[in-house]
C-alpha cells in the first residue's frame, strides 16, 4: 500500500496530459486526498511539449515531491526535455508508450535505472477503443486508476462530466478508453502492489485551486474594487479572473496600455478612496518602481503582486524563481520602506493577500506581495475554510473634528495620519511626489524632509512585531535552524518533519513578512542555533544575504540556493542537515 505517490507525465501539446492531471486532482479532492499538481510547458504558443506532476497523499503535503514514484512518457523526446523536473529514480515505475520501440532495458534515461519499466500500447488502445489518438489521456487515467487504485469512480465521472459538452459519442468513446486502460492494468499486475491507502481522518470539504485564482478571490473578499494591470506571464490569470469576477461586485478591471499606466490607475483609484490592486512579474515590477515611490511619499494604500519568474529580463517566463526579493526590498529610490509579504502555498495565499490589503490600508503604503510561478500555477487540494475568519482593515479616514483645519500629513505619534479623499468636504489636500509639509505644501527644507522620512519609516514599527506573519516550528532549543520562504518553504517543512523523525534536533522559521526585516523574531530564533540552512530558489541566496544585513546570524548558518527551474529536493536539504548535525556532535555541542 502507498500513502504518498508522486506521478509525473509528459507528452506533446495535443496529448491532453495536463487535462489528465486535472481530472486526477479533481477526483482526488472528491475522495478526500491531499494533492499538489504542477504543470510545465515548452515555450511554444501551441503544441510543443507539456507535462504535469501530481503528488497525491493521504496526509497533508507541502510541496510537489522529489523523485517520481510513477513516470508516464507518451513519447521520450518530450519526456526528456523536462529533465530534472521529472526525475526518475531507482524506485520509479516507468510507464511508456510501447510504440516508441524502446526496449525495457535500454531506456534513454540518465542515472538511476527505474525499478519497473512498462511498455504499454497506449495509442493503440486509444485508437481501438475510442477510434482516436486523442483518447490517450483517458487510457492513461485508466492505467493509473487500475494500478494505483486512485479514485476510480470519481475519475471516470469527472471525465464524463468534462466531456459532456462534446456530445454522447465522445463521452462513450472516452469511457471505453478509460475502461481499456483499467482492464489492461488489471491483467498486467505490478510486481508488487502499489494501491493507494484511503485518506486519513474524516472526509472534509475540499477545494481545488491555483495561486493566481486564490489570490484574486482573496482580493475581492478583502474589498478590492479596482484592478488595473498589463498582461505578463505568469501573473495574467489574476487579470483574467478579476475581469470575470470583479464587475459582479461593482469593481473595475482596466487592462492598461502599459505596466506604468497599470499601477498609475491603481494609485489614482486609491487616491479616490478605493482598495486597489495591480499585478505583474519581474520586468513589470521594474517599470512600476517609480510609481511605487510615489505611493510611498503620497502615503497611498496599494497592493502590487509580483508573481516571480526566472530573470533577469525576459529570463524564463514560464518558470519560477525567488530572485526578485532584492528588487522588492531595495528597488525603491530614496529612503522608501515598503512592506513585502510572501505566501507559502495556494492555501496560504488567501490570508496573505487579505493581510496585504490590511497592511496597505492600515499603514497607508504600497505593499508588495511576492508570489511565484509555482504557487501561481500549481493546483492544490486544500481544506475549505470560512473566509470571514479574516478581519478586514479600512484606512483611517478623518473625523469631523479632524476635518477642521485638516492636515493630510499631520505628524502623529504612530506616524499614521487620517487620510481624506475627493468628495469629502473640508478634506481637500494636495497629494504629491514632492517632499511636503504636514499640509501637503511642497517643502525643500532638510528638517522637514528628515521629519517626514521618519514618519514614513517609523510607522512600520508595529508591523515588525507581527508574529502571526511567521511560521515557527520544531524544538525551540534546537541547535539546527532551517529557514525558507515562498513556495520553497514547503520543501523545508517536509525536511523538518522527516529530520525530526530521524532524530535531528532542528527547528524551522518561515517569514511571510519579508520586509521590513523583523530583527527581534529572527534574533530569538537564532538564540539556540549553532548551524543550519537558508533554503531558497535564487542564485545569490537573496534571503540569506538580506537577513545578514539586519540580524546577527550564527556563523554556522549556510545558504542552500539554486537558480530557478532546478528543483530543490527534500533529500538534499536533509543530507546537508545530517552533515551539519554530525559536525555538531564531533564538536561536542
Amino acid at each position: 500500500m502507498s500513502s504518498d505517490l508522486a506521478i509525473g507525465m509528459a507528452g506533446s501539446g495535443g496529448d491532453g496530459i495536463v487535462s489528465a492531471g486535472e481530472s486526477l486532482i479533481n477526483a482526488a479532492a472528491l475522495e478526500g486526498y491531499h494533492a499538489i499538481m504542477t504543470k510545465s510547458f515548452g515555450p511554444q504558443i501551441r503544441g510543443g511539449e507539456s507535462s504535469c506532476r501530481l503528488r497525491i497523499a493521504t496526509k497533508p503535503i507541502f510541496n510537489s515531491g522529489g523523485v517520481l514514484d510513477v513516470a508516464v512518457a507518451l513519447n521520450w523526446e518530450d519526456f526528456l526535455k523536462f529533465g530534472a523536473e521529472l526525475p526518475v529514480g531507482s524506485h520509479t515505475i516507468m510507464i511508456y508508450e510501447s510504440k516508441t520501440g524502446v526496449s525495457q532495458d535500454m531506456l534513454p534515461i540518465k542515472g538511476a535505472k527505474p525499478a519497473v519499466a512498462l511498455a504499454v500500447p497506449i495509442g493503440e488502445m486509444a485508437k481501438k477503443n475510442a477510434g482516436t489518438d486523442q483518447a490517450k489521456n483517458s487510457v492513461v487515467l485508466g492505467l493509473l486508476a487500475g494500478w494505483f487504485g486512485i479514485a476510480r469512480d470519481s475519475i471516470l465521472s469527472g471525465i464524463l462530466k468534462k466531456l459532456a459538452k462534446k456530445g454522447a459519442e465522445v463521452v462513450a468513446a472516452n469511457e471505453r478508453a478509460f475502461t481499456a486502460g483499467l482492464d489492461y492494468a488489471r491483467s498486467h499486475p505490478l510486481p508488487s502492489a502499489q494501491e493507494m491507502s484511503l485518506p486519513e481522518g474524516k472526509r472534509e470539504v475540499n477545494l481545488v485551486a491555483d495561486g493566481n485564482d486564490m489570490c484574486s478571490a482573496a482580493a475581492i473578499f478583502a474589498g478590492c474594487e479596482f484592478f488595473s494591470g498589463y498582461p505578463i506571464t505568469p501573473s495574467s490569470e489574476i487579470m483574467h479572473f478579476l475581469n470575470r469576477e470583479i464587475w459582479k461586485y461593482g469593481g473595475i478591471m482596466l487592462q492598461a496600455e502599459d505596466e506604468i499606466a497599470g499601477i498609475g490607475a491603481a494609485v489614482g483609484a486609491s487616491f479616490a478612496g478605493k482598495k486597489a490592486l495591480t499585478a505583474t512579474s519581474g520586468p513589470g515590477m521594474s517599470l512600476k518602481s517609480e510609481m511605487l515611490g510615489l505611493a510611498t511619499i503620497a502615503e497611498l494604500p496599494l497592493v502590487c503582486v509580483n508573481v516571480q519568474r526566472s530573470g533577469p529580463s525576459t529570463g524564463i517566463p514560464t518558470k519560477g524563481e525567488q530572485a526578485d526579493l532584492f528588487q522588492a526590498v531595495f528597488s525603491a529610490h530614496g529612503d522608501a520602506v515598503r512592506p513585502v509579504v510572501a505566501p507559502v502555498s495556494v492555501a496560504d495565499i488567501f490570508g496573505v493577500t487579505v493581510e496585504a490589503f490590511n497592511i496597505a490600508e492600515q499603514y497607508q503604503t504600497p505593499v508588495i506581495l511576492l508570489s511565484d510561478q509555482e504557487i501561481a500555477h500549481r493546483k492544490e487540494i486544500l481544506r475549505s475554510f470560512n473566509p470571514s475568519e479574516f478581519k478586514l482593515i479600512e484606512r483611517r479616514r478623518p473625523t469631523e473634528e479632524e476635518l477642521d483645519k485638516y492636515l493630510r500629513f499631520r505628524i502623529t505619534e504612530s506616524g499614521i495620519s487620517p487620510i481624506s479623499q475627493p468628495g469629502i468636504l473640508g478634506g481637500n489636500y494636495l497629494a504629491l511626489g514632492l517632499e511636503h509639509d504636514e499640509n501637503g505644501a511642497p517643502s525643500a527644507g532638510g528638517e522637514m524632509h528628515a521629519k517626514m522620512n521618519d514618519k514614513r519609516i517609523h510607522k512600520f514599527a508595529p508591523l515588525k512585531q507581527r508574529r502571526d506573519l511567521f511560521i515557527v516550528e520544531g524544538d525551540p532549543d534546537a541547535p539546527i535552524g532551517l529557514i525558507s520562504w515562498g513556495s520553497v518553504a514547503g520543501v523545508a517543512m517536509e525536511a523538518l518533519s522527516l529530520g525530526r523523525a530521524e532524530g535531528l534536533k532542528m527547528k524551522l522559521l518561515v517569514p511571510k513578512l519579508m520586509f521590513p526585516v523583523a530583527e527581534e523574531i529572527f534574533q530569538e530564533f537564532f538564540a539556540s542555533v549553532k548551524t543550519g540552512l537558508v533554503v531558497e530558489q535564487s542564485h545569490q541566496g537573496q534571503l540569506y544575504r538580506l537577513i545578514r544585513m539586519y540580524v546577527d546570524v550564527p556563523a554556522g548558518m549556510e545558504s542552500l540556493a539554486k537558480s530557478g527551474s532546478n528543483p530543490i529536493m527534500v533529500t538534499e536539504v536533509l543530507e546537508r542537515l545530517r552533515a551539519m548535525a554530525s559536525g555538531l556532535d564531533k564538536n561536542g555541542v
Binding site: N26, A27, G158, K161, N206, L207, V208, A209, D213, A217, I220, F221, F226, S228, E245, W247, K248, Y249, G250, I252, A256, E257, D258, I260, A261, G264, A265, A266, G268, A269, F271, A272, G273, K274, A276, M291, L294, A298, F350, I381, S384, F385, N386, P387, S388, S420, Q421, P422, G423, L425, G426, N428, Y429, L430, A431, L432, G433, L434, G440, P442
Partner: protein, 295 residues
C-alpha cells in the same frame, strides 16, 4: 489653504485659488492658465471638494497645488493614467488633468492615445511652451527644428510633435486651442472642454518667459492668433479641423477646432452599464471559495 467650509450655491473664481505662491517666473503664461481655469470652474460651479486636479512634473504641473481642489502632483508623464483611475473609482468627480508639452508628448506620450480611445469624461490641458523650463531650457517635443537650446547647442535635428494633429489622428472628440494672450477665449474653451461629456483636449500656447523664443511670447501671440470661429470653421468637421491643425507652428488658431457631433459613451458610463447588468451575479463574498469546489 482658503477652502470653503460648507457647500455654497455660487462660486467665484477666487474660491478655486489657493494661498500657495506659485514658483513660476514673473510673466509666465501659466499664471493666465490658472486664472482661466479658476474662472471656468466658477462658471461651472462645482464645489472644490468635488474636483480632482491631476498633473505630472514640470513648471506647469505645479498648477493643482495653486487651486483649492483635491490635487495630485504626481510623477512625470503619468497624470492621465492616474486621472483615469480616479474618474473610474469615483465617476461623480469633476476631473481635470494638466501638464506641459514634455510631460504629455514626450515621457507620457503613450497615455494620450489610450485615454482618447477609452473616452473618460475628463479634461486634459497641455501648457505648451516648446521648451523644458523646470530643468533649465532643454529641447522639448514641440520645439521647432533647428532650435538652439541647452541640450541642442548646434540646433535641433528633429521635427516637432504636432499636438493638435496627434490627438485628432487618434480620434479625440473635443480638441481646442487657447492662449493667455486671449483670456476670455481661453476661459471659454476650458469651460467648454469641461462641459463636454467625454475626453477633451485643450492645447494652450503658454509661453516660457525665461527660455522661450520671442515669437512665442504673449506680445507676438497677440498679433499671430486667429479665432477659428471668426474664420467660419465648422467644428464638427474632423478633416477641416485636421487641415487647420496641420498649420500648428506656423499659424496660431484659437477656439474649438473639433467637437464630435456623434455620441460616444464614456468609459465610466459603459462601466456603470456593466455593473447594472452583472449586479448580484457573484457569489456572496463570504462564500466566494465555493467557486473552487471540485466538480
Amino acid at each position: 489653504m482658503n477652502m470653503p467650509t460648507s457647500p455654497r450655491v455660487e462660486y467665484v473664481s477666487k474660491d478655486y485659488k489657493s494661498d500657495l505662491k506659485p514658483i513660476w517666473c514673473p510673466g509666465c503664461g501659466d499664471f493666465g492658465v490658472l486664472i482661466a481655469i479658476c474662472r471656468a470652474l466658477a462658471a461651472i460651479g462645482r464645489p472644490p471638494h468635488e474636483i480632482a486636479f491631476i498633473s505630472g512634473i514640470g513648471c506647469s504641473s505645479r498648477i493643482p497645488g495653486y487651486t483649492t481642489a483635491y490635487g495630485f502632483n504626481a510623477v512625470h508623464g503619468r497624470a492621465l493614467p492616474i486621472a483615469q483611475g480616479i474618474k473610474l473609482a469615483n465617476p461623480d468627480l469633476l476631473v481635470l488633468v494638466a501638464g506641459g508639452d514634455g510631460d504629455g508628448f514626450s515621457i507620457g506620450g503613450n497615455h494620450i492615445s489610450h485615454a482618447i480611445r477609452r473616452n473618460p469624461d475628463l479634461t486634459y490641458i497641455v501648457m505648451d511652451n516648446q521648451i523644458y523650463g523646470l530643468t533649465k531650457g532643454q529641447l522639448s517635443p514641440t520645439s521647432p527644428r533647428g532650435l538652439k537650446t541647452t541640450s541642442s547647442t548646434f540646433g535641433s535635428l528633429e521635427d516637432p510633435v504636432n499636438p493638435l494633429l496627434y490627438v485628432l489622428g487618434y480620434g479625440a472628440r473635443f480638441v481646442a486651442q487657447g492662449t493667455p494672450a486671449d483670456m476670455d477665449g481661453l476661459t471659454t474653451v476650458i469651460e467648454e472642454g469641461i462641459r463636454y461629456p467625454g475626453f477633451s483636449f485643450i492645447n494652450v500656447q503658454s509661453p516660457c518667459v525665461t527660455y522661450g523664443e520671442p515669437e512665442f511670447q504673449i506680445k507676438a501671440q497677440k498679433t499671430r492668433m486667429q479665432s477659428v470661429e471668426k474664420l467660419g470653421h465648422d467644428p464638427t468637421d474632423r478633416l477641416r479641423a485636421m487641415a487647420l491643425a496641420q498649420e500648428y507652428g506656423q499659424k496660431l488658431y484659437t477656439g474649438v477646432l473639433f467637437r464630435s457631433s456623434e455620441s460616444c459613451p464614456t468609459y465610466e458610463a459603459a462601466a456603470r452599464e456593466r455593473h447594472k447588468a452583472l449586479a448580484g451575479s457573484g457569489l456572496p463574498k463570504e462564500r466566494i471559495l465555493e467557486m473552487f469546489l471540485p466538480r
